[in-house]
């Protein structure tokens, strides 16, 4: 998955290196300055056709523009700073980022927390359950409890 914020920063960086203003680059790509601004702020990402045009105009490669081969630099106190939320979440749930999940959970929205809890519940992410439980809401504990209940407890129910 790509990090739209980092891609935006990279486009702005390459544009400045090429000595172009937003208007000049937008004109060269036949897009509006607003569309280019959205790419640079990470609000949207260029289409694949536009990426090809961008790599040609900025004398770069699409791998470089999309930061495909770069490691993400994450600040544990603000994991989403300078990054796309979806990208960070995907990195966490795929286990590519080794972060202390119980201590970063408070930075996530309810649906983002649920996505991470799903991975924990299905055994794809390992965390300290005691530490995690103290940071969960009642419904989250209930959600997470499903697969970790021991058989005896299940039989008692």
């Amino acid at each position: 998955m790509i990090d739209s914020i980092r891609v935006g920063n990279k486009i702005a960086e390459l544009r400045k290196d090429a000595g172009m203003s937003q208007e000049q680059l937008a004109d060269a790509l036949y897009v509006t300055r607003q569309a280019l601004s959205k790419w640079e702020t990470g609000t949207s990402v260029p289409t694949l056709e536009m990426l090809m045009a961008l790599s040609r105009v900025l004398n770069s490669t699409f791998e470089e523009i999309l930061c495909l081969d770069e490691e993400a630099d994450i600040n544990p106190d603000d994991i989403f700073a300078g990054h796309s939320r979806k990208f960070i979440l995907r990195q966490i749930v795929s286990g590519k980022l080794s972060l202390d999940i119980p201590n970063i959970l408070y930075q996530m929205s309810p649906s983002e927390r649920l996505l991470v809890l799903r991975e924990i519940r299905e055994g794809r992410l390992e965390v300290d359950r005691d530490e995690l439980d103290s940071r969960l809401s009642l419904s989250e504990k209930r959600y997470l409890g499903g697969k970790n209940n021991d058989p005896e407890e299940s039989n008692q129910r």
């Binding site: 998955m1 790509i2 739209s4 990402v45 289409t47 694949l48 056709e49 990426l51 090809m52 699409f62 791998e63 999309l66 495909l68 081969d69 979806k86 979440l89 995907r90 795929s94 649906s111 649920l114 996505l115 799903r118 299905e122 419904s139 209930r142 959600y143 499903g146 697969k147």
Partner: protein, 221 residues
Amino acid sequence: MILKKVIKDNQTIYVAVDKAEAEEMEKRGEEAIFVDEDDEEKEEAKEKERSSDDDKSFFEHGSRAAEFAHRFRDRFQHGFGPRMRKAGMNGRFSYSHSDDEDDDPKTAQLMRILPFMDDEDVHEVVEKYLAGDPDFAKLKLPAIMPFLNEKDCDAVFKKALESKELGHYIGAVAPFVSQKALSALVDQYLDGVYPDLDINRLYPFLDPKDIKRVFSYLLKK
């Protein structure tokens, strides 16, 4: 015509009064009854004239603001309502889904209880959806995806792709789908199985290797 309420012999009767007397009644705090709309409007106009300029501007401003809010809501609903519903965004800006005319009560109820359902029950819902059960045809995929396990997510995604109902919200569903399923989708896309697939909406969620494959394919094309 202005009437005055009078109680005579335990009976309430209404007696006509002139405007001078009505003004006197008003000063005494007695209630005058207007039976003709024209008279009432005139009296209201008089009342407005009597009130101070500050009060007048305050009331005018208040009514204008209320009117603006009303018009804005109408125009917003008229202009953006259908588009928001089409994009599966309805209810995202309100506390309740119940005002959504496309929502059927069963789906809305299911959405509320999904977080508290057992795995087996959720899986049963998914199976019914996949089997094309009409009761679950209106399920909003972006809303249910977080509650499904990866296997079910992949199955639901595949079915939605085949029925071409993902449309605009493919970007909202893709984060819940496994990389394996997305890679398989890229394979099929490269083989021409999904010629109508909007790869521009999907590529941000692909693995770098798959993005490179798609790029090479498009370059060759």
